[in-house]
């Protein structure tokens, strides 16, 4: 099974060759004629598309145009286009702000850590599940590990807080058995990244493993059989049959993960944040929220967001390029 993201639609059916279908269709039609014919024949389809396309224009493309306020001194009275230009002033102010490097560092470290931890673990889980033939046990493990994915971020964060609570949580009870005094995990900035990443692994491993399980089930059983006949052990078969088989899928997931490194989610970091741990929990997304909506500095917040989006776009394209060069698999294949 070759895993390719359906990002690019398949090429249009080959134009009818002149000799074969000349009787029915003219040999070459200009794109304009094609468009006109399609519009006349399928006007109902175009009608269907109008509202969804309007949605994308209004809620996705107008905001991109609105982002021009990053270069302006936004005034609600004058609107995004009427406000005065200030050039790169907002960006300069942000880069000079002492908080800038902390934000970049926090965002970067948090997401690199997340990618490093949440990339290999689902692969291990999927391969382990794939080794088991016992249907019931396998299904139970799958069902239970998949479940947390459906729980909301608010609930997962609440559970994390309750479980880690210094007075009541069972984690502190457990480490108390070894004579360790109870720890206020959320009050110490140094624990923030571990809490964030491992609660994420807890929540998403089962879900991510499903994708690899599908890739594993697509591997030709004949490969396994011949490897067995050649005397390969289970471990050797995993190493030489399973891993190469899921490689394309793994590359795509890694590319997506690395490409999104600077856009790590707002929701969870914001919920886990408290005044005691902001030293490590303040990331670009939470800072944009505070600057924009709590302090109402729209231009500055947009500038920071734009800076982040652009970096992210280049990261994604860059990583995709490298991955394609090395493995031949990329997002656009």
């Amino acid at each position: 099974m070759s895993a390719t993201f359906e990002v690019k639609p398949a090429p249009a059916p080959a134009a009818p060759r002149a000799g074969e279908t000349a009787a029915r269709k003219p040999p070459r039609t200009s794109r304009r004629t094609q468009a006109r014919r399609s519009l006349r024949r399928h006007w109902q389809l175009y009608l269907l598309v109008v509202v969804p396309l309007a949605y994308f224009v209004i809620f996705k493309y107008i905001p991109i145009a609105n982002a021009v306020i990053a270069f302006k001194d936004y005034s609600p009275v004058k609107g995004p286009w009427g406000s005065d230009w200030v050039g790169f002033k907002n960006f300069e102010l942000f880069f000079q702000n002492p908080v800038f490097w902390t934000l970049v560092k926090n965002t970067f470290l948090l997401s690199v850590y997340t990618v490093l931890a949440s990339f290999p673990i689902p692969i291990i889980l999927a391969i382990a599940l794939n080794e088991i033939r016992n249907g019931r046990f396998k299904k139970t493990v799958q069902l239970v590990t998949y479940a947390p994915y459906f729980i909301s971020t608010v609930v997962v964060v609440s559970m994390t807080i309750l479980v880690l609570s210094p007075r009541l949580g069972f984690v502190n009870d457990a480490i108390g058995l070894f004579g360790v005094p109870s720890i206020d995990f959320l009050g110490n900035p140094n624990y923030f990244r571990h809490i964030y990443v491992w609660s994420d692994v807890w929540q998403t491993t089962g879900y991510s493993a499903v994708i690899y399980l599908a890739a594993l089930s697509g591997i030709d059983p004949a490969l396994h059989e011949s490897a067995r006949i050649d005397g390969a052990s289970r471990l050797q078969r995993i190493r030489h049959v399973d891993l190469p088989g899921i490689m394309p899928t793994a590359v795509i997931i890694l590319v997506l993960g690395v490409g999104n490194i600077m856009s790590i989610g707002f929701e969870k970091a914001f919920l886990l944040q408290n005044p005691l741990n902001t030293a490590q929990s303040e990331i670009i997304a939470t800072y944009v929220y505070k600057t924009g909506l709590l302090n109402a500095d729209f231009s500055m917040a947009t500038a920071i967001g734009l800076f982040n989006s652009v970096i992210n776009l280049f990261l994604l394209l860059g990583v995709n390029f490298v991955a394609k060069r090395i493995t031949g698999n990329g997002l656009w294949s």
């Binding site: 609105n66 947390p148 971020t153 608010v154 994708i211 919920l271 967001g305």
Partner: protein, 316 residues
């Protein structure tokens, strides 16, 4: 013994074949398999323990919870917390709002998703590559929080129910899933036959495509519904009126910000203590109550969910 060796076993059992049965598992393989099983048990326990802990606490008495005595089995079983939760007006209002947003939002989202995914699946639909690129680009680049906020503000949606269902109505991912499904399961011949019988594009979509696409519609509907039920970010930035808050925002206020809902301030120390204890156990009950609708339906849909995700992600 692996299923893939079925064929071997059969040949091996033929009377004329040699005495050797199928390839034996070596000792290292057996040890390895045992290791794998232990690992899976560990994974099971790690995921299940926090869930069990929460449920056990939610069914325990307030004093037991506040003393930290509950581990994985309810102590002094009580449903006090649930009674309290279900009689709290803010929580119930949040529950109701979440249902409204989930159902309304899903209806809107599914309709719009199909309206764009179906034409994009048709090979004779001129311009579909351009439209697809327009959609894909929004996955790669966005204007950001504030520019989107400004649009919602300009449309007068701030602090209305519309802000919860419209700005995040269509997911590009869901469009791709639906389009791939239409393309791979509705053959062109079917369309040609229907056209000959005089069906228009809309008629064909309504009477032929939609009935044949129930599985994928169910999948994207569930994806939207669960997403809507679990989301709190849109509510956080667009809603001010507590009467419009979805459950997740109410949860955040109670669970994370520790704001007690509906409690009356009292000067009586014993009552204060009791309220404090009740507030503790209430948190556990709220977690269970809010996750229950999703966790109840999930085992039934997990299989389809996975299939739907794979349709969009993998073609094999």
């Amino acid at each position: 013994m692996s299923v893939t060796l079925q064929g071997f076993r059969r040949t091996a059992q033929r009377p004329d074949s040699s005495k050797r049965t199928a390839i034996e598992e070596t000792r290292t393989d057996k040890i390895f398999l045992a290791g794998v099983k232990i690992m899976l048990w560990l994974a099971l326990i790690i995921v299940a323990v926090p869930l069990i802990y929460i449920v056990a606490n939610s069914f325990s008495s307030p004093s037991a919870v506040s003393a930290g005595r509950v581990l994985f089995w309810p102590i002094e079983p009580s449903i006090r917390a649930y009674k309290e939760a279900f009689s709290d007006p803010l929580i119930m209002k949040g529950y109701l709002n979440s249902f409204i947003y989930a159902i309304g939002g899903t209806l809107i989202s599914v309709t719009l998703t199909i309206a764009i995914a179906y034409p994009l699946s048709r090979r004779t639909f001129f311009g579909r590559n351009v439209i697809m690129s327009v959609l894909i680009f929004t996955m790669l680049f966005s204007g950001g929080l504030i520019p989107t906020y400004l649009v919602v503000q300009d449309l007068g949606m701030l602090n209305t129910r519309w802000a919860m269902v419209i700005p995040s109505a269509i997911g590009v991912w869901q469009v791709i899933i639906a389009r791939t499904f239409f393309r791979s399961t509705i053959p062109d011949e079917l369309y040609e036959a229907a056209t000959i019988d005089g069906a228009s594009d809309l008629r064909f979509l309504w009477s032929i495509v939609l009935p044949l696409s129930k599985p994928v519609i169910a999948v994207i509907a569930l994806m939207y519904a669960i997403f809507q039920w679990n989301s709190y970010f849109d509510a956080l930035i667009y809603l001010k009126d507590p009467g419009l808050y979805p459950l997740q925002i109410v949860l955040r206020n109670v669970l994370i910000l520790n704001t007690l809902t509906g409690s009356t301030t009292t000067t009586n120390l014993a009552q204060q203590l009791e309220q404090q204890q009740l507030a503790n156990v209430l948190k556990y009950a709220l977690i269970v109550i809010s996750s229950l609708p999703v966790l109840i339906i999930y085992p039934f849909v997990a299989r389809h969910f996975t299939k739907g995700v794979m349709v969009g992600a993998v073609k094999g």
